[in-house]
Symmetry: C2
């Protein structure tokens, strides 16, 4: 798609104006801009052409123009200029960036809230493992007469635990033995590397504790498999601030879809090429989100983990500003996690976290 410089200028102006006013943009409004030196008639001609090309749309004949999804896409890919955060903005971002919690999962959830607050849009945060996790250490602790707690320490200082009911009577000594065997044979192995043969060998040498092996390993494999932590969504109701969602029914549809689709589909659309990714309107999988856009950005947590934060809003969102803010977060979040951890701490993927269940 080839645009003349003037057409680009006009398209950019329309997006910029529309983004902040939410009103269709007329030719006059553009002609009035300081760095526009041609008349509204000329602009009308150009706008007609841009409409022809599918970059603009017209709500109705006598209204101004609005960017089409393709228009936004073009804007994002080629026209968007780096937004410079103002001093004020930077300041409040910095203030917000003090994470209060010390617990990883909670921190992620705070990140979601924070991003939502700073963008005034619904936002989410999620952690993912970057590579394969391995068990660093197994620990079996007697919890009560008929139960033990299995504690797994994974690479990246992740800790998972689970309460296990003993199917048979197992002595303290047997537990010690099993513990030792697990730690010698099965640490530092990825889930796939733990083969059936290996497990058989372990089971054979486990003696009286043998019935425990499958219970332990089921949980272990589950922990190793889990690539993504919980998705922490926040500030959904901020969507209602947007004029396009002043109608509660509309907002509700979108929010409901978010709740359902997002959570399941999100890992599939995580930014791949670059650190940032845009899903503009109809580029979303769910048709209910055809007027909704998502901007997501990766950030580094360290220790083989990465995070993703994202913002959800109407197609008419300020991509430049949002991107700038997310970028700022991405740059600084890593440090935050670092700071409160002394060194980067691994994330969410909490399995038996805090509680043990089944």
């Amino acid at each position: 798609m080839e645009l003349t410089p003037r057409q680009k200028q006009i398209l950019r102006a329309i997006v910029d104006i529309y983004v902040s006013t939410a009103e269709p943009v007329g030719s006059k409004a553009i002609a009035a801009l300081p760095d526009v030196s041609f008349s509204s008639a000329t602009i009308r001609n150009e706008m007609a052409e841009l409409t022809q090309m599918g970059l603009l749309e017209q709500p109705h004949t006598s209204a101004g123009r609005v960017p089409s999804p393709a228009g936004y896409r073009f804007y994002i890919d080629e026209l968007m200029q780096d937004y410079r955060l103002s001093i004020d903005e930077t300041k409040s971002l910095n203030e917000a960036l003090e994470l209060k919690s010390q617990e990883f999962d909670e921190m992620m959830s705070q990140v979601g809230k924070l991003v939502s607050k700073m963008t005034n849009l619904p936002a989410y945060a999620m952690a993912s493992r970057q590579g394969q996790a391995v068990v660093k250490h197994f620990e079996l602790v007697q919890a009560g007469p008929g139960s033990i707690i299995l504690v797994l320490m994974l690479s990246g200082d992740e800790v998972k635990n689970k309460l296990i009911r003993l199917p048979v009577k197992v002595s303290e000594a047997d537990l010690k033995l099993l513990s030792a065997i697990l730690n010698t044979s099965l640490t530092d192995l990825s889930g796939d590397a733990i083969t059936v043969e290996l497990l058989e060998k372990v089971t054979r040498s486990a003696g009286a504790a043998a019935p425990l092996v499958p219970l332990v390993m089921d949980f272990t494999q589950e922990c190793l498999r889990q690539q993504h932590g919980d998705l922490h969504m926040a500030g959904q109701m901020r969507l209602l601030d947007q004029p396009e969602y002043r109608d509660a029914a509309k907002a509700q549809e979108v929010l409901e879809t978010l709740d359902e689709e997002m959570i399941s589909n999100l890992p599939a659309v995580l930014p791949k090429d670059g650190p940032v990714q845009f899903l503009v309107g109809p580029e979303n999988i769910a048709k209910e989100l055809k007027d909704t856009s998502v901007v997501m950005m990766r950030f580094d947590i360290g220790d083989g983990m990465q995070g993703t934060v994202g913002v959800v809003g109407p197609t008419r969102m300020d991509y430049a500003k949002i991107t700038a803010k997310l970028g700022y977060f991405a740059e600084n979040l890593g440090r935050m996690f670092q700071k409160s951890g002394g060194e980067p701490m691994p994330p969410a993927l909490t399995e038996g976290s805090g509680q043990n269940t089944k």
Copy 2:
């Protein structure tokens, strides 16, 4: 407040009708009810009286009547009849009651979602300890060159963990020693019972690991202190289904207040007298919630833990039905937790859960 039987009948009818129609109720509508044998004029007289008493309100002169907050309160306290869940309702409740997760925190969050879905209103779930928690077992595990992971097993099979940076070099043997000392001296003690003198004694005998003691105990005390788990809120946008919140601005105000106030104030208003508690409109602390009601119900998790589920909606909510549904949940949730745990598992209060930080 003394009402004649007829007045009670009328008040109940008004609440019942208004709850389901959201339209002011006129005298005719009541006269048309099958078990009403007096005329609309009589009803008008009674309504005038009830209005006098502050139990009813009139949106404007030529409209029907609407229950006042006091009217709802009276209804709840004296008029409400047990709502019998229909077969269909019971069936879908049962289907929903299959909790999928095995992780405690996640289960609580699922409970919130579930209750929200079944009532079609925003809902929350929270776990609380019933008594004082104590440490059952301390475990110190080497995590890396300069760090260890502290694992606490608390009463109720709660497990917490935290990564600790070592301020000094500590040998494996020293760790073992400290571990042994902690387990002999500080287990089965409530937070208050762990006195300064006791700690001094422990520190003195800890040898090279002495600098670790405060780090360990800070975290321990924090875990012991925590009485309430995370508040899991869900389905906020379902509030938009209610006609009184068709205006997005109004809905937003309420949802925002919920997010802020709720979370901090909720523990203070947990049901005390009975298992169920109603906060009707202005009975809420926050003035933004003056047209919003909350119904909350306690349920049993076992193991010294209890849960609370609550539902948020307009004052005009179907208290009878909601109460019935919550009651059904309360009855069955305990069993659910049991079932998936083999025996009740302790809750949320995740501190170092899954991840270690700080």
